[in-house]
């Protein structure tokens, strides 16, 4: 992952330097260069120290048998932790649940988010109200929203549970619980998706859409043939961010079901192995595997779908 992201940078830097030529740098350019590096240095040092070093350490930990109850007995075991995780039904169950939640919630969010974006873009009045309302789920702490949903669906306490047939406890059934987790996730993150799509929508030239209208295109035709293709970059960025975010789902599941009845995600599995089973070796192996999954998703989006890395615009010359 590190190599795939740094390759363009590494290959870009020498050409820039080569074009200018080291000797040809004016005093001002040298000063600018020094200032640039100086200003970035603290941020870079923090980011490397807090992510690169720990992930390397996690790889090291994952190759050991390391039980926190017996820290003195830690020893090198090679890949056996990975073997243990990858042959365990718990990992595959959690991965399946995570993928299911990710795919369904991102798909629903894309459709709902697009609808919300169109509402905000085209509303004749109340645009400000809608935009404000939509920001509320974004601002609310995930855990708070999750508790609200949890109480709403708990039989006896909740108004939503009261609407269900008597005797049903949706949070204790695997499929219903997964559905409710997706609902909570969609509620919380659709606004973010909608705002990203709205910004993409604003970049679609109004004349092009009007031209299609003059040519007699219906609303659906305009959306499918004109607006969506022009929005493809914005949609891909929004999908990339939300997919990676959904894959890391933790808070909602922790509060809603605690991962019981096979509703745990891979993050919940990793957490449980670390803090309930106190197994640092297995927990680290899961951590590394999740990192690899995320890297694979990002790779697919960027290399195969061609999602442009945000902020990665060409340098000004």
């Amino acid at each position: 992952m590190t190599t795939s992201a740094s390759t363009p940078a590494a290959s870009g830097a020498p050409t820039a330097a080569g074009r200018q030529g080291r000797a040809g740098l004016s005093e001002g350019a040298r000063q600018e260069r020094r200032l640039g590096l100086l200003l970035c240095a603290p941020a870079v040092i923090v980011m490397v120290a807090v992510t690169a070093y720990p992930i390397a350490y996690a790889i090291y930990l994952s190759l050991q048998r390391y039980d926190l109850r017996f820290p003195g007995q830690a020893r090198w075991v090679g890949f056996s932790n990975y073997w243990a995780v990858l042959t365990s039904p718990f990992w595959w169950q959690a991965l399946w649940v995570t993928v299911l939640i990710t795919v369904v919630s991102v798909a629903v969010e894309l459709v709902l988010g697009m609808a919300l974006a169109l509402v905000m873009h085209r509303a004749i009045f109340g645009r400000g109200t809608v935009r404000t309302a939509v920001l509320i789920p974004y601002g609310i702490v995930t855990v708070v929203a999750a508790y609200s949903w949890q109480y709403a669906w708990t039989p006896g306490t909740g108004y939503l549970a009261a609407l269900l047939p008597a005797g049903s406890a949706p949070l204790t059934d695997q499929w219903q619980a997964i559905g409710l987790i997706i609902l909570a996730e969609v509620w919380k993150t659709t606004p973010f998706m909608a705002l990203l799509l709205l910004a993409g929508l604003a970049l679609v030239p109004g004349e092009t859409v009007r031209a299609a209208m003059v040519d007699g295109a219906t609303f659906w035709q305009r959306l499918r043939l004109v607006i969506l293709p022009l929005m493809k970059p914005a949609i891909l960025v929004a999908l990339l961010f939300r997919t990676l975010d959904a894959f890391r789902i933790f808070d909602n599941i922790y509060v809603l079901t605690g991962g019981s009845n096979d509703t745990g995600s891979v993050s919940i599995l990793g957490y449980d192995n670390l803090f309930t089973a106190l197994n640092l070796g297995i927990g680290s192996a899961i951590s590394v595997l999740i990192f690899l999954c995320v890297a694979a998703i990002a790779f697919v989006f960027i290399k195969i779908f061609g999602a442009a890395a945000p902020g990665g615009e060409p340098e000004r010359r």
């Binding site: 590190t2 350490y57 109340g126 109480y151 108004y159 509620w187 961010f241 890395a309």
Partner: protein
């Protein structure tokens, strides 16, 4: 013609109301719960039958919640300040200066924005115990500022590109060094963008749950979202529902006010980093 117009207006009215209901539904429910009397807490009524402040009194009487609130505010403010300062420096360089390694910085920020936090929990847990910063403010500030740095850098560099840079040139013509131009001319112009980024980063830190429950073990550094999950009822037969609801409302209100006051800026900030690239 008139009726068509009326229908359109009604249509948009309905859509607007639906969106507002969508956004407020769970919020109203937790507010309603927090005002319910313990005897009616589990009646499932949408509106409290008997309104009471008792749940709020309850949580402010124990140090469990007040301590967590202080932790949440302190940790989020410090982490936000550091992330915004470091982010401002880096974003200025990204938006304005020509130097090698700029794309490396952008690539790295992107990588960290995508990083799964759970992957860092196990190593950080061990590292922090060795360093003695486990269950301290520092132990949470470090991951928070790191994970919010990409957000800060993206948002700020997008804002910085909008600034009228001719003023900087004018300052340079007048003999200012790049550093002086940054400090005296650009920094005041950049203040609104920096402020917006501060709000976004604060919301990010305020929201975290995974690090908060993993890297703390006592009330010394436990933030409110984590503390809520450990709430117990005042007796073993009582569910902490009322306390959780009240605590949840307390940490929600300031953010909702912020969001309502600065909604234009927040929308601009959220979308700036991701789309203008």
């Amino acid at each position: 013609m008139m009726s068509h117009r009326n229908r359109t207006l009604t249509g948009w009215g309905v859509v607007n109301v639906l969106v507002v209901l969508y956004a407020l539904f769970p919020v109203w429910w937790i507010v309603a719960l927090s005002f319910k009397d313990p005897s009616t807490l589990s009646d499932g009524n949408f509106v409290p039958r008997k309104w009471t402040w008792e749940n709020y009194h309850g949580i402010f009487q124990t140090s469990e919640f007040t301590r967590a609130l202080i932790n949440s505010i302190g940790i989020a403010v410090i982490a936000t300040t550091i992330a915004v300062v470091l982010g401002t420096m880096a974003a200025y360089a990204v938006a304005r200066l020509r130097f090698p390694g700029k794309r490396l910085l952008i690539g790295m920020s992107l990588l960290i924005a995508m990083f799964p936090p759970i992957s860092l929990v196990s190593p950080l847990f061990n590292i922090e115990r060795v360093l003695g910063i486990f269950d301290t403010w520092v132990g949470l500030i470090i991951p928070y500022m790191t994970f919010s740095l990409p957000l800060a850098i993206y948002t700020l560099s997008a804002f910085f590109r909008e600034i009228p840079w001719d003023l900087e040139k004018a300052a340079k013509v007048d003999g200012a060094t790049p550093w002086q131009a940054f400090r005296l001319v650009i920094a005041p112009l950049a203040a609104p963008g920096v402020f917006t980024t501060g709000i976004l980063v604060f919301i990010f830190c305020w929201n975290d749950f995974l690090f908060a429950i993993s890297l703390t073990s006592t009330t010394a550094a436990r933030t409110v979202p984590a503390a809520i999950a450990f709430f117990t009822g005042s007796s073993q037969f009582q569910q902490p529902t009322g306390s959780i609801a009240a605590a949840a409302v307390v940490i929600t209100v300031p953010i909702v006010i912020f969001v309502l006051l600065f909604q234009r800026r927040i929308v601009a900030g959220l979308t700036a980093g991701a789309v203008k690239g």
